[in-house]
């Protein structure tokens, strides 16, 4: 058995830890993209951060009431 079967919390924390790099990929890719969608960047980044916040809420349950209270 070589592939880890991380628990949900640990897996999501690792995902959160790598999210900065992924969002940087998004910014780089969209900026260089031929689709002319640079205007989309603020919204795309906002949605990604929004998604991360929801992942955080489901990962660390103690934070969930505070996060949901925002909305």
């Amino acid at each position: 058995m070589v592939v880890r079967k991380p628990g949900g919390i640990r897996r999501r924390l690792i995902m959160l830890g790598t999210a900065g790099g992924s969002i940087a990929d998004l910014i780089r890719g969209t900026w260089r993209s031929e689709s002319g969608n640079r205007w989309l960047l603020p919204l795309a980044v906002f949605l990604c951060v929004f998604g991360l916040v929801l992942i955080l809420a489901t990962t660390v349950e103690a934070l969930a009431p505070f996060i949901y209270a925002i909305f």
Binding site: M1, V2, V3, T18
Partner: protein, 602 residues
Amino acid sequence: MKVLGISAHYHDSAAALLVDGVPVCAVQEERLSRHKNDAAFPAAAIEWCLNHAALEPADLDAVVFYERSMLKFERILTCALRAFPRSWRSFPNAMKNSLGEKVWARGIISSHLGVPRDKILFTQHHESHAAAAFLTAPTRRAAILTADGVGEWATLTVGHGERRRDGRTDITLLREIRFPHSLGMLYSTFTAYLGFAVNEDEYKVMGLAAYGRPTLTGQVGKLIRRTPDGAFALVPEYFEYQTTASRSYSSRFVELFGPPRNPYDPIDLETADGRRFADCAASVQRVLEDTLVDIARALHQETGLSDLCFGGGVALNGVANARILAESGFERLFVPPAPGDAGCAVGAALYADRIYLGNPDRDVPDHPFWGPEVDAKELARAAREDDQDVIELEDAAMIERVADELAADRVIGWMDGATEFGPRALGHRSILAAPHSHEMRDRLNRDIKYREEFRPFAPVVPIEAADTYFELPPGGARLARFMSGVFPVRPEWRARLAAITHIDGSARLQALEREMAPRLHALLEAYGRRSGIPVLLNTSFNLSGEPIVTRALEGYSTFRRCGIDVLVAGPTLVSKRATVRARPLKEDVAWWSGSLAGSGGV
């Protein structure tokens, strides 16, 4: 250097492992999870690959994901905004779908494998297709064509590749056609309209097309406009796939072609509706072929090269492939055994190895057998425990015995060595039968595969004899190596090859070289000595809706649940006892007798 390639999250997840530039194994997740077209992160496939090569994740030099998931997210977001307000219903779902997991590919890989972030690389979707097609083909310079539904933005690319004498590799994609203009999506829209499953049943549309006439090409032509630069553009009013994942075609599409088929209604070609559906299939097939031939012909004129490597899901269309070979001007056409997204695991790994990491070019073995091996002892043990007839034979005796069984019209489940990578059964996980009669075709459809009557079966023939029975153009035998082309059966043989001859006189044959599958080749020769025709019907070893079997136990389970008479794995042969087949009937009778007696009736 050890490079792991991964494709995941849309359909046909897979993993592939390269060691020192050469693939050592590759497997689709569905073959291990037993979920058809499994799109989940391929943890089982990765684990099998690493175990097979006796590696730990820490030993990997790079892990390559087959597409840039963040660019795909940008496309989904852009399309949703462009389609606003029509997309307001699908927008939350699309965001939840993407942001829940798919866009975080780097994190998911890191969390499963524990590899550092800087070892995780990404290729573009069509770069992966291009590498899977070009770097696995036995050619040094070739034009490259890729076409599928959609990757990040690209849906079709043209370019060229070269494996240089100094070991460097170049892959250049010159131009691309971008979403929503997509040949794959056009075909998938008709797949949905005809009541089949999108991204899965496109081959049924191709099979149905042979029953129809392309009388609706004018109407299909209204959906796809050819542009002066040789490309094409779809007319968006007829489609909805760009705005929602729940429906592919618009109400204008329905006005043009009539009501769609209910997936639960059988296709009855005796009715007007049945013929209309067949004509729709024939028409979109014709338009797809014409468009691909034009693009390939222009690419041939532009590059002046003699070889074309074709990748992407559209390359599974064997009828179109045969026309490209015959009409585009290319002398050879290479389609890999897994041209779809599963093959991108191999393609991404090869692309990263050659292009990103700059490793020297290596020849890739020209076969499709990269998956788990069958364990004959496991089969023998299970069959004996189940009170079946099990015998073990030497290779030569086994071949003769199986040829006798085939000549007696018995159906064989054939498992041999490593499983194929890709959707075709190419002789290691096959159901084999005599190819001579309609009755055999009907029996297979009814008792074994449980599938639609209109779908054809494929033949396998030794490459030396292929030209005797099939009309192969120059380069046709190569295209038939991985069952990637549909060619006419010679008219004089059609009556004696009725089970594998489609309604239009064609067959999607596999031309088998001895070196690729020596036991099956020997079996074909032995069967030829008995019947006079060294051709067998070869269909994938699975039941309808299930993935192709991988392990001996899965083969045995399938064998017990359908009308296969004999199961072979390596030196082990299991025959189904006649009493076993009769048992369910007896149980039914006993149950009825008991219930009637208990209720005091009769």
